[in-house]
């Protein structure tokens, strides 16, 4: 007796993959998901936890808006809120040029359905007395927020499993091919065959695309993250800055999480480490905007692997080389918010061959002349 042929195989157990597994099961398709480690342990689980539309490339805005609605529905969809809080997100300007940038973005954002409120000078201090004197202005997106990244992908994975998806963790995919009638996915004892294949392998997505002759210039991105001991709650917004060299939020428990700069990563070896010098720079920048952190203690630093594209927007959409293959990877450090919507969009692309969300700008075709991404462990 031969092994069953699944309707869909998914490579990658991040939020997008796990959400897609759930959405596909809800459409009645049989699903197997292969994840090399534990679900949500890579970029989905080690990121900052920002759930933000403000500041995005406007081409991502329709996807982000769709996703934002799903964040509110997490308890109904996956059984828990994953500590999602619509705290609002403020983006800070630290000089006049940055202030002009905030105002320009806010004007353009209105055309994309995003209402931002930009305030400067004294109004900033009245609204956010905890911000440092270097802050010249702030742009608020009131319904942006934050969530606990460690919880989201695993919650989707549990929901997908409960809905009948086969989630195979610690199942590293070594290769995959299209036989002309189905996909064969080699993962040792976890190997699977399926009629459709979804590539949501994050940084490793480039290698998967390469198996199908589609080269992409993806590079590792290791955000350098820092967290303090719990402090009395005082930062009631998620915070970013123009240029993005520091970002911060405070969780209800009291810890202040901030990041900035890049950690060290050896994608070939699968090893990543936060960098002490980069963390120190982030501390200096965090203190400029949040002087109350002066006496805080750092209890942990970390990083992890995401995949970054040269134009800093992801690859989303059907393969141009292989029928039945759909890609979604290379979220370039801002995929967390998009995860829930990606599940639905991928399910639509797989089941219907199209999605109402505009994904054309993210086609893998924009890298048509790129060489295949290198093999990673």
């Amino acid at each position: 007796m031969s092994a069953p042929v699944f309707d869909v195989a998914i490579i990658g157990g991040g939020t997008a993959g796990c959400a897609a597994a759930l959405a596909l099961r809800q459409r009645g398709m049989s699903v197997v998901l292969l994840e090399k480690g534990a679900c949500g342990a890579m970029a989905s689980g080690t990121n900052f936890g920002g759930v933000r539309r403000q500041g995005r490339d406007f081409r991502e805005m329709p996807l982000a808006t769709r996703s934002r609605a799903l964040w509110d529905r997490l308890p109904a969809v996956v059984g828990e809120d994953c500590e999602f809080r619509a705290t609002g997100h403020i983006k800070l300007a630290r000089d006049e040029a940055e202030m002009a940038e905030l105002e320009r973005y806010a004007r353009e954002a209105r055309d994309h359905g995003l209402e931002l409120s930009v305030v400067g000078g004294n109004a900033v201090r009245a609204l956010y007395p905890w911000l440092g004197p270097k802050v010249a202005g702030a742009s608020l997106c009131a319904d942006d927020g934050q969530a606990n990244p460690r919880l989201v992908a695993p919650a989707y994975a549990r929901a997908a499993r409960a809905a009948g998806a086969e989630i195979r963790e610690f199942a590293k995919v070594e290769s995959a091919r299209w036989t002309g009638s189905l996909f064969e996915v080699d993962a040792g004892p976890a190997s699977a065959r399926a009629r459709r294949l979804v590539n949501v392998a994050g940084l490793w997505g480039g290698e998967v695309a390469g198996w199908f002759g589609e080269g992409v210039p993806i590079r590792p991105l290791c955000p350098n993250m820092v967290v303090t001991e719990p402090l009395p709650y005082f930062i009631d917004r998620s915070i970013g800055v123009c240029g993005g060299n520091v970002y911060a939020r405070q969780v209800e428990r009291g810890n202040v999480i901030f990041g900035g700069g890049r950690g060290w990563g050896d994608a070939q070896a699968g090893l990543s480490r936060p960098r002490a010098d980069v963390a120190r720079d982030a501390m200096a920048r965090a203190l400029e905007i949040l002087p109350q952190l002066r006496d805080a203690r750092i209890i942990r630093t970390w990083t992890g692997f995401d995949g970054e594209m040269p134009d800093e927007i992801p690859v989303i959409g059907p393969s141009l080389s292989t029928p039945g293959l759909v890609h979604a990877f290379g979220f370039s450090g801002h995929g967390f918010q998009l995860g829930p919507a990606m599940g639905e969009i991928l399910a639509e692309l797989v089941a219907d061959g199209r999605t109402p969300s505009p994904v054309e700008p993210f086609s893998i075709g924009r890298f048509a002349s790129a060489p295949p991404a290198p093999r990673l462990t």
Binding site: A38, G45, R150, L151, P154, R158, T228, E229, P230, R253, W264, R273, P274, R275, A276, A279, R280, M283, A284, A286, L287, L293, R294, D295, A296, R297, I298, I299, R300, T301, W302
Partner: protein
């Protein structure tokens, strides 16, 4: 060849002996230690000027303590001792340090990690009440600070530290309310044959017990279901012994259940770990000389597995000789062989000791869901069990991600072992499966500002 840059972390018995051997060979090791003065935790020195005699501070171990302390002046000028300095990160071939002068980084060609151990804490009702200390903490209060943790103190434990600390308190004039051994008396007999391999050490242990008996201190074995009660602080300890519910009035409790190795730097250095069923923990894999899996990184003493202070001295020197050999320098091969032989002999005694004080699994089995397991984050045992079962967290890092167990100030140094025990038992799996909390820098909390002064 340029002078190799050698760093030793830890100024306890292992680190000091390693430094002595390295200096003897003409190297000038950097010695990094958190304390102001050498000795480690076992031979911790009082602050300068406290001036109490060694005999009073270290009892029967005074001569050994004095010898370790005396190494510091003997090595002056031949080692670069960075006192009051925390090694908070190890990355590639460098350690990130934080000392009195601020942050710094020290690069190494070879590294000896002699990072020692802490008490193994296990949760039980009331263990977070003010007045409950680890046995080691109670001992350090006495020997380094010259103060007792209470006026009427009870002791609870599952290791050789239990009679020792109780005896030290007794001799310091503190009322010892009771000594409660969480392991059965019969286990002592089971450990006896192997412990006879070191009769002098065994005799010392028996002497402590005899002193406690002579002083009329109530002693109980196979103590179950301990719980501390009191309004705002320790007032009494309830427990079961021999099937009888008992109560002891006390204003402080020293309690811990063995030792756990401090392995974070070895982890950050990239050493491979393996599960040691004897001490029920993951330790850096090492050969008999102390070579870790990472080239030119050595582990010695209780930080590499629990062996005690005497073994630590030998292991520190042995690791230093291995380091010299691996750097192509001359070393005394006969001495190295003698050290390994001595370590093997001490290990026989250690195995007897482990048999005499088996891990009290009943503490994990009897732990109720409501009792707090992770103090820093306030996570109860029940939340961990729920993550282990309902959320299928198969190992402690996954449980940490789901529940915040081990995610607070101590980074799991205090609760990580208990978390592994609870998780494994809840899942009905072998303890080794529960894994170990991966180290993440900083090893201990570091302030924001000193990092910015450089």
């Amino acid at each position: 060849m340029a002078e190799p840059r050698v760093v030793v972390v830890g100024a306890g018995p292992a680190g000091m002996r390693a430094c002595a051997a390295l200096a003897e060979a003409g190297l000038r090791p950097v010695l990094v230690d958190e304390a102001a003065r050498p000795g480690g935790r076992i031979y911790q020195q009082p602050p300068d000027g406290a001036g109490r005699p060694a005999r009073e501070l270290y009892g029967l171990e005074a001569a050994k303590a004095t010898r370790i302390h005396a190494l510091a002046p003997a090595l002056a000028g031949r080692i670069d001792h960075r006192a009051e300095t925390l090694a908070w990160n190890c990355f590639a071939d460098a350690l990130d340090l934080l000392g009195p002068g601020g942050p710094s980084r020290v690069e190494f060609d070879a590294l000896v990690l002699a990072t020692g151990a802490t008490d193994l804490a296990l949760p039980f009702p009331g263990w977070t009440l003010p007045g409950v200390y680890a046995l080691g903490g109670a001992q350090i209060a006495l020997k380094a600070q010259g103060c007792a943790i209470g006026r009427r103190v009870a002791f609870l434990g599952a290791g050789p530290l239990l009679p020792l600390v109780a005896c030290q308190y007794l001799e310091a004039g503190v009322a010892v309310a009771a000594v409660l051994d969480a392991t059965p008396f019969l286990a002592k007999l089971r450990g006896l044959p192997r412990m006879l391999s070191a009769p002098a050490t065994l005799a010392k242990g028996m002497l402590y017990v005899a002193r406690l008996r002579r002083a009329g201190v109530p002693m109980f074995f196979d103590v179950r279901r301990p719980r501390v009660e009191g309004r705002g602080r320790v007032e009494r300890l309830r427990f079961e012994a021999g099937g009888v519910e008992r109560e002891v009035a006390c204003d402080a409790l020293g309690a811990s259940f063995g030792l756990r190795s401090e392995t974070q730097l070895a982890d950050l250095a990239g050493c491979r770990f393996e599960f040691d069923p004897r001490t029920r923990q993951h330790v850096p894999a090492r050969d008999a000389a102390g070579r870790s899996s990472r080239r030119h990184v050595y582990v010695a003493g209780d930080g590499a597995g629990i062996g005690g202070a005497d073994a630590a001295e030998l292991a520190g020197e042995r690791a230093a000789l291995a380091l010299l050999e691996d750097l192509g320098l001359s070393f005394d091969a006969n001495r190295a062989a003698w050290l390994e032989g001595s370590l093997a002999r001490l290990d026989v005694f250690r195995r007897g000791l482990e048999a005499a004080y088996p891990f009290p699994e009943h503490m994990v089995r009897d732990l109720d869901d409501a009792t707090m397991l992770c103090r820093c984050e306030g996570i109860a045992a029940g939340a961990l069990r729920e993550a282990a079962i309902a959320k299928d967290a198969g190992e402690v890092n996954r449980a940490k991600a789901f529940t915040r167990v081990g995610m607070g100030r101590c980074q799991g140094r205090m609760c990580g072992r208990a978390a592994a025990e609870v998780l494994a038992m809840a899942r009905g799996e072998a303890l080794g499966q529960a894994g170990r909390l991966r180290a993440q820098p900083p090893v201990k909390p570091i302030p924001m500002l000193p990092g910015l002064l450089s």
